[in-house]
């Protein structure tokens, strides 16, 4: 079931133009394969998307210079021979405040 109930999903907000760092701890044996998805679509590493495992063993997705198009449901999916699971969060990119005089 790749579609968690939205009511249970946490929402995190970041400001437009800032980086959003997603940090997820994963266990399993053998070591699970990790993929990150946004709105169900696989996230490939790229200029604005860094994917790595940090020194403490957390899996990290970093979205650089967040734009409005980065709003959405992000999932960290783990699978190995014994099964699969995922965790999800909603990212809300806040528009910059425009000050009127």
């Amino acid at each position: 079931e790749d579609r968690p109930r939205v009511s249970k999903v946490k929402v995190f907000s970041v400001s437009e133009g800032k980086h959003a760092k997603f940090r997820c701890y994963v266990t399993g044996k053998p070591k699970p394969e990790i993929i990150w998805r946004k709105d169900g679509r696989l996230i490939a590493p790229g200029r604005r998307h860094l994917l790595y495992e940090d020194r403490e063993g957390y899996f990290i997705l970093k979205v650089l210079y967040c734009k409005q198009q980065d709003n959405g449901l992000y999932a960290c999916a783990a699978s190995n021979a014994a099964g699969q699971t995922l965790s999800s969060v909603l990212l809300n990119v806040k528009e910059p405040h425009i000050k009127f005089k």
Binding site: V14, H19, A20, F22, K29, A77, G83, T85
Partner: protein, 240 residues
């Protein structure tokens, strides 16, 4: 620490583990403090807690002790203190953790695949300004040089920038200031590198730059000249 008390015991390890007991062994301290060692106290602590429990009421003489009263399946670490007439030593370094399990259960648990579990994803905002380019690698040295290859090694920069540090290696032929990147496509992740495509008979200097997602940093200090010749293959004479 009491003057005249023994030094801490050494090399605490588990000889044997079962669900009922763990046999802990150690080496006597390097110094007895001036009076002979009367015995040892063994302490245990369940992994994940910071509660140390003394296992024996009176000092044991033999450097080996079966610890009982363990909860099956839980993991423990151990430390040992030495006693003489003057006092008690500081505790030894802790042992590796050991689980109170029968060997067959331990083997079974090791082989069992565990379905993945993923924790709550935590999202944090980072300032793009934090995307700091890492500093210069240090202590760059040529660790090996032959006519076929040169091996470089260096230390990561002190100023690391954010995660995911990588390196670019550059070479420069003697008599020029024309630095060329050796691995322009593939940055290396470990702080060492072997270069193969060097022209025999030429002298080179080398330097290394750190890089991360924020960019490529300043180069390290360049090495001295390394000449790529046959003579580097000849080992140095053993005596002066």
């Amino acid at each position: 620490e009491v003057a005249g008390a023994p030094g801490a015991p050494l090399d605490v390890y588990c000889l044997d583990a079962n669900k009922d007991y763990v046999i802990v062994s150690w080496k006597q301290p390097a110094v007895d403090g001036g009076s002979s060692i009367l015995g040892y106290f063994v302490d245990r602590c369940e992994v994940g807690t910071s509660h140390w429990v003394q296992c024996n009421d009176t000092p044991v003489k033999f450097a080996r002790f079966p610890v009982t009263g363990l909860v099956e399946g839980r993991s423990y670490i151990f430390r040992v203190r030495a006693v003489n007439h003057v006092g008690i030593s500081r505790p030894s370094r802790i042992s590796e953790p050991v689980a109170a399990l029968d060997p067959s259960d331990r083997a079974r648990l090791k082989g069992i695949p565990l379905a993945p579990w993923t924790g709550q994803i935590i999202v944090t905002e980072e300032e793009p300004a934090e995307g700091v380019v890492p500093g210069q690698p240090t202590e760059l040295t040529v660790t090996e040089a032959t006519k076929n290859y040169v091996v470089l090694s260096w230390k990561p920069p002190g100023q690391r920038g954010h995660e995911g540090i990588m390196y670019y290696i550059e070479k420069c032929v003697a008599g020029t200031e024309n630095w060329q990147r050796v691995n322009p496509e593939i940055p290396v992740k470990s702080p060492r590198f072997a270069l193969f495509d060097l022209a025999e008979g030429k002298s080179y200097r080398f330097r290394v730059r750190s890089a991360n997602s924020a960019g490529i940093g300043e180069p390290s200090e360049a090495t001295e000249f390394t000449e790529v010749t046959d003579k580097l293959d000849i080992p140095k004479p053993p005596h002066h």
